[in-house]
């Protein structure tokens, strides 16, 4: 009796799958193309999430609640409010800018503008207000910080609290991102479904074309996996090639967009980020591709390949 080898069987299953893939060239191209499209939209979604995360994070860091004080407010009153704030759990940090400091900052900011410098020199009193800059633990807690200030015993020295604009910007970005993500996810799921259906149909046709061969395989004692395996490999190959094509489009595209983005979001380097996370991106895209392809062929095998 001849020796039976699992390694040899696996090799033959993969070889047959590869031959099926090559022989159905046009159909394979269709299945691979649809799947690549689904994966491209998926990678677009990943970029969007990353971009939103970065922008919101950046704004989170940048924006804060500014409390401006009446000009007659005393420094110890302001420092009392600061220490009250520092004890409040929603507050990350508080920094105090005195009237003099505010004036210094203003002068520095406009040191090249002689007109402004001259105007300031004309003034007898410092027109700028002392302020506290507050960073919250979470941007959604700004309202509670404002509420806290409203209830403070020293609230009469407070002139105004500015925070609503910042919160609105964050809310708007998060809102846009949420609807884009939702739409993107919808399109990804739809395309994934189409990709699975196209794969299913392609494999189904291969099964029909090979009806006689499958019958003979069973007749001469091929194991079930030997009959099914090549079709799973074929589906997997659609996924593999689709994901490689996706990565081949994704990286140059990210490089291109990165260049354009740098001009208005200089601290976000898309290309660098995704190059740095190449391994992770590779696993996500190739994993999704393989899953789609193998899933599509599994349904075809279940429904059309009776053993």
């Amino acid at each position: 009796m001849v020796e039976i080898s699992t390694k040899q069987s696996l090799k033959r299953i993969f070889r047959t799958g590869w031959i099926n893939f090559q022989r159905n060239r046009f159909m394979s191209l269709g299945a691979t193309g649809t799947m690549a499209l689904a994966l491209l939209v998926l990678s677009g979604l990943i970029v969007l999430n990353f971009f939103t995360g970065q922008t919101v994070g950046f704004l989170d860091e940048k924006v804060d609640v500014s409390v401006y004080f009446q000009n007659d407010a005393k420094e110890d009153q302001i420092l009392k409010i600061r220490s009250d704030l520092e004890e409040f759990k929603n507050v990350k940090s508080v920094s105090y800018i005195s009237q003099n400091q505010a004036l210094e900052d203003f002068k520095n900011r406009h040191k090249d503008n002689q007109l402004i410098q001259d105007s300031i020199a004309e003034l007898e009193n410092n027109p700028l207000q002392a302020s506290l800059s507050i960073k919250a633990v979470d941007p959604s807690q700004y309202a509670s910080i404002a509420q806290f200030l409203e209830n403070n015993s020293l609230k009469e020295v407070i002139d105004k609290i500015s925070f609503y604009e910042n919160e609105a910007a964050i809310n708007r970005i998060q809102g846009i991102s949420k609807s884009l993500s939702r739409g993107g996810l919808g399109v990804t799921l739809l395309l994934a479904l189409v990709a699975v259906l196209v794969t299913f149909n392609t494999i189904r046709l291969t099964i029909y074309n090979k009806k006689q061969e499958i019958e003979i395989m069973k007749l001469v004692g091929a194991t079930n996996w030997h009959v099914r395996g090549p079709f799973l490999v074929e589906g997997g190959l659609y996924g593999l090639f689709a994901s490689l094509a996706t990565l081949a489009v994704f990286y140059p595209a990210t490089h291109f967009i990165s260049g354009k983005l740098l001009s208005f979001a200089p601290n976000i380097n898309l290309f660098q980020h995704f190059m740095g996370n190449f391994g992770q991106m590779f696993v996500i895209i190739v994993g999704s591709g393989l899953a789609l392809g193998i899933f599509g062929s599994m349904i075809a095998i279940r429904r059309h390949l009776k053993i």
């Binding site: 039976i4 699992t6 004692g221």
Partner: protein, 227 residues
């Protein structure tokens, strides 16, 4: 040893293909199964490779009830039984050599073993010089001999031949018969289902006559084609 114990096969509750078959075939026998179309010959053969299952009764092979053979072990059962059909069932896109090698490939054999065994078996059926020919380049008789080579390559204990000469002229039919004879002489059990009376009368061994799903006659020795 093959045993059928009260085997009945009904299709859709109203057509009875096999009706209470009791049969015993010893190792190394040459049995001709005769009868008109629809007598149940093919169904009997299908039961042995578990392509079909009895509605009631037992099919026992080497003391093992085939009902106890789980689905995943069916391939191994089929490697012990070589099958030959009227329509040859060869792969047109493969050469003679590849057609035989295919049977070993799907069983996971090593390439070196395949090369050796295939050459050997092709020589046995007299097709050594046609190993590179495609089925369409072979005559009917050669195609059937190739199918026999494929059935033999697993060195089975049993050969099931379902109307193997149905598509062949007299000369080729006798060539195939001689080959089955030789295989039987080497110790393999051969079950030949046919309605070719000349072939059966030439064999002159055990002849089982079937009609309407029943065994109507079992001539243990020097049997003749009688329905």
């Amino acid at each position: 040893m093959i045993e059928f114990k009260k085997v009945t096969k009904k299709y859709n509750h109203h057509f009875t293909a096999l009706d209470g078959i009791d049969l015993e075939i010893k190792d190394g026998e040459f049995v001709s199964l005769v009868g008109p179309s629809g007598a149940g010959k093919s169904t009997l053969i299908k039961m042995l490779i578990k392509e079909d299952r009895p509605t009631s009764g037992k099919v026992i092979l080497d003391e093992k009830d085939l009902a106890d053979v789980p689905d995943k072990e069916i391939p191994y059962l089929r490697r012990k039984i070589g099958t030959i059909f009227q329509d040859f069932r060869l792969l047109e896109s493969k050469t003679a050599l590849e057609n035989v090698a295919f049977a070993l490939e799907v069983a996971g054999a090593e390439d070196d073993d395949i090369a050796k065994d295939v050459e050997q078996v092709l020589a046995i059926v007299g097709l050594a010089d046609k190993k590179k020919n495609f089925p369409k380049e072979l005559s009917g008789g050669e195609k059937q001999r190739l199918a026999i080579a494929r059935a033999l390559v697993h060195r089975p204990k049993i050969i099931l031949a379902d109307e193997p000469t149905g598509n062949l002229d007299l000369v080729n039919s006798f060539d195939v018969l001689k080959l089955l004879w030789r295989i039987n002489e080497l110790g393999t059990t051969v079950i030949l289902a046919t309605h070719d009376d000349k072939i059966v009368n030439t064999v002159g061994k055990r002849v089982i006559s079937m009609d309407k799903g029943k065994i109507v006659r079992d001539q243990l020795e020097k049997g003749k084609y009688i329905i």
